[in-house]
Point group: C2
Chain length 241, copies 2
DNA sequence: AAGTGGTCTAGACCACGTA
DNA sequence: ACGTGGTCTAGACCACTTG
């Protein structure tokens, strides 16, 4: 099961991969507890320290969460975490507030070249395209265009038109797809007429465009999201360690 | 020396603090090797594992660098590291290229309210203000305004007017101040007339404004840098883990 | 009281770089 | 050959949570 030959891959890396596999194949589910370190050590035939090191790396990657005295759990996407991790817009005082959102359009379309390449799809594959506006304290501030592969997300279209504010939680609960990381490209662009109308600004106003590809644990792309944000009363915050 | 009472602070945290102190007070200098784990363990009267854990956290914070078979070193700000860590602008293909830079203005001024608050200075303290333009493949793309406290950075003004491309390396070598982290605020702004003239654009063109406060290891602010960047051929790249 | 994660130890061996 | 960091073990005790 585990390779112990010299010069091979470290034991703890192999253990880590086994743990990832347990999560990836649905054996362990977000929010649930996993076996204790000592039991995993017995199961894999290694010491507790080795299991511990593997788990530590996954905790650092936000895949697992430790709770002293209770156990180790598969991380979930509660709104708190989504807010903390994936949402970088704050008001000018540095406060993070999750905006509400209203869907403007939702439908199934053929992927544009850009969408296909970002999501790793063949050209003109069917995708869901969602356009929504996000409001901070009732003021429209961001327009978002979200693109998802029609498979498996197709059923989102038939709904009552209402989508939850925190989509990543929905992906996890309804489709078993957990977003673990994201890749963002930021540019300054001029508001289009449509942007301007939705946000109540003049066309040409500078907007911060955030193009985000959301990835699963194994780095496969799931969602393309292009947000255009007025930065009069907000900014994008990034900390470099 | 080290507190071993129950319920107190973990030993490895205390060791970590000792190591930080050695660096902070100039006992250990960036680029130099530090004693081996086993020797530190002897010195502090703890096991190698405890020293190792302390060092591991500092390596994760980019304070120390391990080199297998050689030893552990205090991290330096070679241009490579500065580029990797603190520079997030890439061309549209995702390639990171360090721009060259040309100083437009440099002088000692009284700090604006914003500069004073960002740098934690009293109002109207003297600061150095540097304005420079950065070029990617000979095309002016960013205008930067850099503010530093006149103490201890005053001597930068008297120089021959030439400043190195990678300032953080200079801070470290000339002043013994190492930048470890930074806090960035991003907004979309309209190019001022001066921006436009320097960058060869029309006034009002959307620019990506990056307002960065650079911090030392103990989180005290050192430099305020406001960069305005044309994002026609470049973007700001951020990866969220 | 029992079980979990969190810390710490002492010692073994491996992989790597230098002399 | 030697010293370094890198991995792994076995066992001890502490801190926290739950039954």
């Amino acid at each position: 099961m585990l390779s112990t030959e010299k010069g091979g891959i470290s034991l703890y890396i192999q253990v880590k991969d086994l743990l990832i596999a347990k999560i990836g194949n649905g054996d362990w589910v977000p929010g649930n507890i996993i076996p204790s370190e000592i039991n995993l050590a017995r199961e894999f035939g290694v010491s507790q320290g080795t299991v511990r090191k593997a788990i530590t790396e996954l905790v650092e990657n936000n895949v697992l969460t430790r709770k002293q005295g209770r156990g180790t759990f598969v991380s979930t996407h509660d709104p708190q975490r989504a807010l903390f991790h994936f949402f970088h817009i704050t008001d000018n005082d540095g406060h993070k507030v999750l905006p509400d959102s209203r869907v403007l359009r939702i439908g199934i379309k053929k992927a544009s070249a850009k969408e296909a390449s970002c999501l790793g799809l063949a050209a003109k594959t069917e995708v869901i395209r969602i356009e929504r506006v996000r409001n901070f304290s009732a003021r429209p501030t961001m327009v978002e265009t979200i693109t998802l592969p029609a498979r498996p997300f197709g059923e989102l279209v038939g709904g009552n038109g209402e989508l939850p504010n925190t989509l990543y939680e929905l992906y996890e609960k309804q489709f078993g797809i957990t977003i673990h990381s994201a890749d963002e490209k930021l540019r300054a662009v001029a508001a289009s007429k449509r942007d301007a109308a939705v946000l109540g600004l003049e066309a040409g106003t500078p907007l911060l465009e955030i193009e985000r590809v959301a990835l699963t644990l194994d780095k496969s792309p799931v969602e393309l999201r292009v947000s255009r944000c007025s930065t009069h009363n907000h900014y994008y915050h990034n900390t470099i360690f």
